[in-house]
């Protein structure tokens, strides 16, 4: 197992190299380079600009610059400083990362809790009213733009429907905490709308993945064998069929991971959720390239780690897979 994990981590290195070279090239080849925004900013003096240029090593040839950039990240965890805020990018990301992980993690769990039972039940009762209803809902979840769904939720639950006890809005439309309260209950209250929007769109995909996969598995010979042996139907469905049907779903979910963070970016932007997506959007509008590159690199690492996790889960679900 340990050797497998090490080998997989080594395999991730070329991917990170491709991504970092692309990012580096793209950002450096634009006119003015990474300091274009700083040069336009009148509040930054010529000396400060010169110092920034020195610190970024912009007087060196490009390959040397790239190697120094990578060396700084690997040895010191230094992703450079934000041009706008003059703070280390790594600190800014460290502040935002837990918020994004909380939002994405909770939404992902709720998605699984909703989508997996729906997909499994719909697959065992094809063409029933339950199947038709959930398939239609799933199509809606797959098709609705998450940013618009977030906006509609705000219109309905913040503007139109009021809290019958206080007369205020039923759910808050933005942020993580109220000004005066910082407890968990308040946090959960702030999470309702963003998590609903994300889970609804993701659940559409996952329930359809599982339904399709389970329909296929139910035609397999080993299912007929199990039934012929007199195994109870519940046991056949939820032990034999479900476990096998989950295998391709794990692969599909792992392939989908980048879009989870994409959805989170939209939702963080709409709900002013102080996560990495919101940070990225603000930085993109100000062309704050060190922040942009840092956030992309960190999210790529997260995606690769989650992929590794998915592969290990695959081995847990399918004992035929051996890690050596």
């Amino acid at each position: 197992m340990a050797t497998y994990i090490i080998r997989r981590l080594l395999q991730a290195i070329p991917i990170l190299i491709i991504l970092s070279v692309l990012l580096f090239a793209i950002v450096r080849l634009t006119p003015g380079g990474p300091l274009a925004a700083a040069e336009r900013n009148p509040s930054i003096s010529k000396e400060a600009l010169e110092a920034m240029r020195k610190k970024l090593g912009l007087d060196q040839p490009l390959p040397i610059q790239y190697l120094r950039w990578v060396q700084q990240i690997v040895t010191e965890g230094d992703l450079g400083d934000s041009i706008k805020f003059r703070r280390p990018v790594s600190t800014m990301i460290a502040e935002r990362l837990p918020n994004t992980l909380l939002l994405v993690g909770v939404s992902f769990l709720i998605t699984l809790i909703i989508a997996l039972p729906i997909g499994a039940i719909a697959a065992t009762r094809p063409q029933s009213w339950f199947d038709h209803l959930t398939t239609t809902l799933a199509f809606m979840g797959q098709s609705v733009p998450v940013y618009w769904l977030g906006l509609v939720l705000i219109v309905i639950f913040y503007i139109i429907i009021k809290n019958p006890f206080t007369g205020g809005p039923l759910f808050p439309a933005g942020g993580m905490h109220s000004l005066e309260r910082k407890d968990t209950l308040d946090l959960l209250w702030h999470m309702v709308l963003p998590v609903t929007a994300l889970s609804f769109t993701w659940a559409g995909w996952y329930s359809r993945y599982l339904r399709a996969s389970m329909r296929e598995v139910l035609h397999e010979d080993y299912i007929r064998t199990a039934r012929a042996k007199g195994v109870t139907e519940t046991f056949v469905l939820y032990k034999h069929a479900l476990r096998n049907a989950l295998l391709p779903v794990v692969t599909l979910i792992a392939l989908d991971l980048p879009s989870l963070f994409g959805g989170a970016l939209f939702i963080e932007t709409i709900f002013s959720w102080p996560g990495m997506g919101r940070l990225f959007w603000d930085a993109a509008r100000g062309r704050d390239y060190p922040v942009l590159m840092g956030v992309i690199m960190i999210e790529a690492v997260l995606i690769l780690l989650c992929n590794l996790l998915a592969d290990m889960l695959y081995g847990f679900l399918d004992p035929r897979v051996r890690y050596d």
Partner: protein, 303 residues
């Protein structure tokens, strides 16, 4: 005598006819096709509207929906219905062109990797894997904002930039699909036979292998198009896609969001249009999947 033969003949159906017949047996796909064509044609007929998408009338701002302004007016007094029609032209054509480019890239990479195998396959698939683990939306935002900063006149065209960046970051799924198809078709007898007859590689790929992949590529294309429409609107919504004054569903939604308290109806229409368009595309894709899949049993499913 000839009459007898004609009446006893089994009715012949071309493969296209079979697919179409099965497509129309799907409950919602034909309906979705009609609705989608209706959206496309109303976008094409947009100039028939008495208003233009950019004509401002500040005195007329924030009108609620009425007989003269079906969807009301926006903050500058522009007719929202007209803007949605023109926005549909942009959003739908970006979706279509981005899908076309995505498929061209994906088929090229997938066919080369699947046909040649070996180091070509290894290299191309490693690049594909790398692209698959990119945080797509973030990279899209970065690249589209950078491209627009370039001192190249053509990059001022935000519609073109959006098409290019969306295709550059969504070809991977079709590449993987085409590669797996080519891997199996490459070993089929008819391909081996024409190779034995001396057919060149490009002839084998273009004439013999790719035409046999059309079905799955078509289904994949509908998924890509739904994705492209959502991505374009999302990028424009965030301010990194199609730039105003050119209307697209995404940037109409973005400006509506600013006035969501004053005029909530402004935010409803552009989103509903994206929603319906994507839903239609998804149902059309589902219809094609059922029609093209020889294993789907159309009698009531039983287990």
């Amino acid at each position: 005598m000839t009459e007898v033969i004609e009446t006893s003949q089994v009715k012949y159906e071309s493969p296209t006819q079979v697919v179409l017949r099965r497509f129309f047996r799907h409950k919602l796909a034909p309906l979705a096709t009609i609705l989608f064509l209706l959206m496309v044609s109303s976008a094409l007929l947009a100039p028939l509207s008495p208003y233009t998408p950019t004509q401002q009338a500040p005195a007329n701002a924030f009108q609620p929906p009425s007989a003269s302004h079906w969807f009301g007016t926006d903050e500058l007094g522009r007719d929202i219905f007209t803007r949605i029609l023109y926005g549909g032209r942009i959003s739908l054509s970006v979706g279509l062109l981005a899908t076309a480019l995505t498929l061209v890239l994906g088929v090229l990479v997938g066919a080369l990797a699947g046909y040649y195998g070996g180091w070509v396959d290894n290299l191309l698939m490693r690049i594909t894997d790398a692209f698959l683990s990119f945080p797509v939306v973030l990279v899209l935002i970065l690249i589209s904002s950078l491209l627009r900063d370039l001192p190249i006149a053509i990059m001022r065209n935000s519609v073109l930039v959006v098409i290019l960046v969306i295709s550059a970051l969504s070809w991977m799924w079709s590449a993987r699909l085409v590669r797996s198809l080519v891997l199996t078709i490459r070993e089929r007898d008819f391909v081996i036979a024409s190779r034995a007859l001396g057919a060149a590689d490009h002839r084998l790929i273009l004439i013999h292998i790719l035409p046999n992949c059309i079905g799955p590529i078509l289904v994949n294309g509908t998924l890509e198009m739904a994705y492209a429409v959502i991505l374009e609107s999302g990028l424009s919504y965030l301010g990194f896609g199609v730039q105003p004054p050119t209307p697209s569903w995404g940037n109409i939604l973005a400006s509506a969001q600013l006035f969501v308290f004053k005029a909530p109806w402004m935010a409803i229409y552009p989103g509903v249009m994206i929603f319906i368009a994507v839903m239609c595309i998804n149902y059309i894709g589902d219809g094609f999947r059922d029609a093209l899949d020889p294993y789907v049993i159309h009698t009531k499913e039983k287990f």
